[in-house]
Every structure is written in structure tokens, then in C-alpha cells.
Symmetry: C2
């Protein structure tokens, strides 16, 4: 019986994790949940799962949840709120496994505290490894507990790595869909509209990650995550464009053998893998093997997608650079979605922020959060400078 | 330092194994060699490797080798011959690892004795597992020693299996090139000439294995090998036609994840893997990952290729049936190459032999060899019967 806390239970990954728990009632027990701002769903989850402790985003939400639980005659669910509430959920003494699925830096502190409390982590939050990867992986090593990736690429790598030891790895190959502008000439990038950029060929996702997929920054983040998670130098983590996204990733060993992982595209599969590791238990998620046909692979174009290059540079530098990469990207993507800058200016903003970001080790999550805030301020400034000069060039659709 | 004996050192696999040893002089030592009838090459190998014990196929060959070594002033190489010589090589007290690469039932006894002597085996001989798989795997389990497959498919499966436990395997997927008649209508099979059948699209191999690839019997043998090697029922070993032969094989786990292995097509890679297992050491055999594009996969047509169906039936029945399958196939293929029967009659002969073969466990290698001889006699008889009735129909090219 694995005793589970889910950070981000009302998000997409959180809901999939609850689906997995639902399918295997004898294996898993929900001990704590940390929900977001969807208070109705948080109430439904509290009613269904009866967690010992439930956190929601705001104090008002917590009061509302307490009242609704009382009205239904449900007792035994302690309700807390905010970042401190999420930390309580993450570090609850009865929890053994924490699913970290709060999006953004908001998930950082709770996840770090879970690691410090000796929990095993199923990691879906990107920022944990991009912004605080060095801190978090060092602490997990100290605790002797696993950080198990819950996303198709790193989960695939984790599976392939079982074919050898870490010293025997030659290259980690992350596959990338290539995004909607894979075949668009670079000269057309300045005229890409928000609508075009949000139209991802393979996945339906949140807006920021959809834009990050279009700029390949998402893959850049994954490169950094892979470096931190698997203790690999950036030169040994490579990206391969694979529009079908069938093969989720691969590992090439020193002897020349390559192992690749694939499966149906369903987040429940990596979640189940992480929750059960090192065991595997049956699921009904069967991949139709004959669908492997007509796969395509190509190298990524770093000149056309500078975000990927910037991510490699940030991975190499470490410290505050990856923090700034993530923060500047979030701000720049928001500005693009808001019509303040154009598509090709996203990497320009990020590059300018990285240029003024000092490298050097960050000693604590507090320092990470400060570096994050600094980078956001600088990014905002750069956007304002750009906005003034390019406003007149912007196509009407992005206004 | 691994102390190695090679059974079949003058064959293709044996020479590749010596190449691997040559590339890693600090890792491996050649202790004994069992050569075939290429006495010149056997002499060169004795000169280069100075094995403590060397066996050749015949007494005359042994005398010749002794004389040539003496003439060159080489001492310390004991020369033996024949099946008893191969057994001496396989069981030499200083040997830890035996590469089993003598083709045909000739390699069976020496390999079995090596297993009984507690050696770790790198297995390239098909007959060991097809004809005597139950005996050999039971003995290896008793000795607690590994049988490591040296062929691209089973070696790939072995690597993929590292991603989970045996209880967690759902299906082993063996890939098959599909042979030269993958797209040929079954109605044209009676007119297939020897030349057409020997023209394999991907590999250059010996004649029998080329015909076995054209009938898919080779894949049928591999199904039986996989069942024995990995203790899987035939229903869980499946074949997938994959003309590019890029992916060497795959393992599907119960949770829905699939691991696939690929690499350059070079026998030195699985040999190095087996020799070093569970370690991996660097090689310069790098697969160009972008070459993965345009892979095709399709299910095999068992109606068109009855050999594959017959192999599944023999795998299920066990005992003397797989022995008869292998023996009848060898005789039928020889008859086809000799113009005595036509291509589509190969599976007919085998099926008739299987029909009169009693099932039941074979208790010893001696019983395996008797069942083998029985099946060969019956196959010869069936061919003579067929020959009389179809001679007039045979195309001129096959006469």
C-alpha cells in the first residue's frame, strides 16, 4: 500500500493520478491533497477521497471548503491553504510518495520540503528541475530517495536507463514533436500569430506550454531536466525531432546499443510507472504495435529555434541561468499571448535576460525564488523596450 | 579478465568473436578454440592466439595442424579433434565463458557439456535451443549460470528485458525482415526458383538460413528459442514483419510500456554485450539515430508462410517436435536447393514429418540426437514421395 499526497490534485496530472489510484484501490491510498483554485473540484475530491489533510489555494477557498464539508456531514478532513498548506500536505508524516504536479514556481517549495522530509517524489513540475534542479537532486541523493519523472520523455529515459548503469550511458535522446513551425521558414516567424502558435499538431495543453512547444523552449527545459535528473552533462543530452511523438525517448549506451520506449500517449502510464517503481503492474493501456509505421526523425534546427540553444547554454552554466531562462520565458510567452511582442522576439527577450543574469550557485530555494523574481523584472523591462520599437510592425491578429 | 573458449572459431560468428577479443586485449583471454574444416584458418588462429587447447573437425586436420605448429616452432598448443575434441574445449577447466557458434546439431553436445561444467554461455547455435532447449535451459538454471543470446533478435530482447522482471513481461516481439517473398502472392510460390529464394534483401548469409528466412522458418526457430531462453509460452512471443530490420526486437510490459533495441547491424555488438554482461564497455559501433526514419511494420502472414505456424505448434508441443521441425527443415531445404522439391513443398514436408513425430519429453542429448536422426529419415522419405509426383511440374531453373 503506497500512501500518497498529490500536489496539484485539481490539475490535469493530478486528476490522472487520482484516476490511477482509483483503478488500483488495493495498491494506493490518498493521504493528502493540495488543490488549486477550482474549489468545486477540490470539494468533490475531498468528498470522494476523504484525505486526512487537504490544502487549497486561498484562505477564502479553505473556509468555503470547510463549510461545504460540514454541511455534508463530512468530518476528518483537515483543511489548510496557500503555500504553507501545500508544504504541510507535502511533508505529512503518513505520506510516503508525493506526486509533484503544481505548475510553476508555486510547486517548488512544497516539492523541496517533501524531498527534505524523505518522501519519494513523482515529478511532473518542470520548475523543480529547471530552476532548482541542483538543489533538489542533491537533497534527494542525501535522503537516498528517488525522483521519478512523470512526463513521457523523462519517464521513457528512466525506463531505458534500466538497460545499463549510469556510467554506461553515451547519450540521452529526447524526442520532440517539432511544434507547428517545424516546416515554416524562419523568415515567416515575425508574422506568426497567437492563433497559429496555439495550434499544436499533436497535443492539447495549456497556453504557455503550447507556445513553449512552438519555440522548442519546452524541449530546452526538458534538456535541463534530463541533465539534472540523470546527472548528465548537456553535451550528452540530445534532441531529435520526431513529429509522430510515438517513441517517447531513447538512451544510447557506450557499447552502441540504443533502447527506446513507447506506449500509448496517456499520462496515466508514466504516473502508474512512477507510483509502482521498481515494480510494474498490469494496465489496459496497450499500444497497437503495428502503428509504429512511418516514423520520421530529424535533427532540430537551433538557428531557427534559438530557445533550444539558450536552454543548452543555461544548462551548461547552471545556477541562476536556468532560473532566469524559465522566468524570462514565462514572462515573454505571456507578452506574446498578450500581443506585446512577436513570436520571434520571445527568444530575444530571454537571451537579453540571460546576458545580464549572473551565474553562480544558488544555496537555497529562497535564493531561487529571488533569482526568479529578478529575471521576471528584467524580462518585463526588455519587453517594454521592444514593445515601443515594434508595435507598429505587429500584425493586426496579435493586437 | 574473461577466459574464453570459442566453439566454431573459424565460422562467421567465431571470427567476429575473435575480432571483439582483439579489440579488448585487457578484458579477454582466449583459452581454447574449436575450429571447423578450414584448416588454414585454424592454423592462423592457433598461431595468433596460442590457445592452450585447439580442436579441429577431423583427425587428419589435427595431424596437419600439429605438424604445421611444430614446423613454426610453436609449442604449448594441444591439438584435439572431432566432437570429443569440441567437448574438451567446451569444458576446459580454465575456461569461464564459452561462445557456442558451431552450426547445427554438431554444436549441441559440446554446448550442453559446457553448461553442465558450469560455464557461462554466449549462444549463437540455434539448435541448442530449438532442439534441446528444455534440457539446456534446465541445466543452466541448475548451474545458476547465464545463457546469453548472441544473435540480434534475442540479444535485443535480453536488453529490453532489463526494463522489468520476467513476471512483468506481457509480450516478446521478434522483428522479422519478412524475406524476399513478403510481397509475392502465394499463388506464385510453386514457381519460386532457388536463385530467387537465395536472393535475401537485407543479409548475406549461408544458404540454409537464407532459405529459412524466405519461408519464415528462421523466425519460427527464433520463436522457439525465445520461448526456451526466456521461459515464455509461445502465445506471448509474437512476430512482427519489419523489412528495414532496424529495430532488432522489443519487449512489451504488463503496464503497457514497450522497450525496443536497435544498433548498427554488426554481430560484434551482441557478442561484446554477451561477453561483458552485465557490464557494458565502449565500442565505436555507433548507430546514426536519424536513420530511424521510414520504418515499416506489419503482421506476418501465417497462411502464406506455414513454416511459422508449424514452429508455433512445435514450440507448444515441445519434446521431439521442435527437434523434428529443425531436422525436417534442414533436409527439406537441402532438397529444395538440390531441385528435388519446390519452394512451397518445404513446409509440406515438415508438416508431414511433424505429424508422425511423437511428442513427449527427451531425457538426454542422446535422445535428442536420435529424434533428430529419425526425423531426417522420415523427411527424406516424404521428399522421395513428393519428388515422384511433382518432378514433371518443376521449372527448368530448379532442375
Amino acid at each position: 500500500m503506497r500512501r500518497i499526497a498529490i500536489l496539484g490534485s485539481t490539475g490535469s496530472i493530478g486528476q490522472s493520478a487520482l484516476d490511477v489510484v482509483e483503478s488500483h484501490p488495493a495498491r494506493f491510498e490518498i493521504v493528502c491533497l493540495a488543490a488549486g483554485k477550482n474549489f468545486d473540484l477540490a470539494f468533490e475530491q475531498a468528498k470522494r477521497w476523504r484525505p486526512r489533510l487537504m490544502s487549497v489555494a486561498t484562505e477564502q477557498g479553505a473556509e468555503q471548503l470547510r463549510a461545504r464539508l460540514k454541511a455534508e456531514g463530512i468530518s476528518g478532513v483537515e483543511v489548510v491553504w496557500g503555500p504553507a498548506g501545500a508544504v504541510k500536505v507535502a511533508t505529512h508524516r503518513d505520506v510516503g510518495f508525493v506526486v509533484s504536479a503544481i505548475v510553476g514556481v508555486a510547486g517548488l517549495e512544497a516539492t523541496y520540503e517533501a524531498v527534505r522530509a524523505g518522501k519519494t517524489i513523482g515529478l511532473a513540475n518542470k520548475e523543480c528541475l529547471v530552476a532548482a534542479g541542483e538543489l533538489i537532486t542533491a537533497e534527494a541523493r542525501r535522503q537516498g530517495k528517488a525522483l521519478l519523472p512523470i512526463d513521457s520523455e523523462h519517464n521513457a529515459v528512466h525506463q531505458c536507463l534500466r538497460g545499463g548503469s549510469m556510467e554506461e550511458v553515451h547519450t540521452v535522446w529526447l524526442t520532440a514533436s517539432g511544434g507547428p513551425f517545424r516546416n515554416t521558414p524562419k523568415s515567416q516567424f515575425p508574422t506568426i500569430s497567437v492563433e497559429q502558435a496555439l495550434n499544436h499538431p499533436t497535443w492539447k495543453m495549456g497556453k504557455r506550454i503550447t507556445i513553449d512547444s512552438a519555440t522548442l523552449m519546452n524541449k530546452g527545459f526538458e534538456v535541463i531536466e534530463a541533465c539534472r535528473l540523470f546527472a548528465m552533462p548537456p553535451s550528452r543530452v540530445k534532441v531529435m525531432v520526431h513529429p509522430q511523438s510515438t517513441i517517447h525517448s531513447m538512451v544510447e549506451f557506450v557499447d552502441g546499443s540504443i533502447l527506446a520506449q513507447f506506449s500509448v500517449t496517456d499520462m496515466r502510464l508514466p504516473i502508474l510507472y512512477a507510483l509502482m517503481y521498481p515494480e510494474r503492474i498490469p494496465s489496459d493501456m496497450r499500444f497497437p504495435v503495428m502503428d509504429l509505421r512511418h516514423l520520421e526523425f530529424a535533427p532540430p534546427d537551433m538557428e531557427k529555434f534559438p530557445c533550444l540553444r539558450l536552454a543548452y547554454e543555461a544548462a551548461e552554466a547552471g545556477g541562476a541561468k536556468p532560473v532566469a531562462l524559465n522566468a524570462a520565458d514565462e514572462v515573454a510567452v505571456a507578452a506574446f499571448l498578450d500581443g506585446q511582442i512577436r513570436f520571434h522576439e520571445i527568444p530575444q527577450v530571454i537571451e537579453q535576460v540571460l546576458e545580464v543574469t549572473k551565474s553562480g550557485k544558488l544555496e537555497s530555494i529562497q535564493r531561487v525564488l529571488e533569482a526568479d523574481a529578478d529575471a521576471r523584472r528584467v524580462a518585463q523591462l526588455k519587453i517594454e523596450q521592444l514593445g515601443g520599437s515594434t508595435l507598429s510592425l505587429r500584425p493586426a491578429s496579435a493586437m
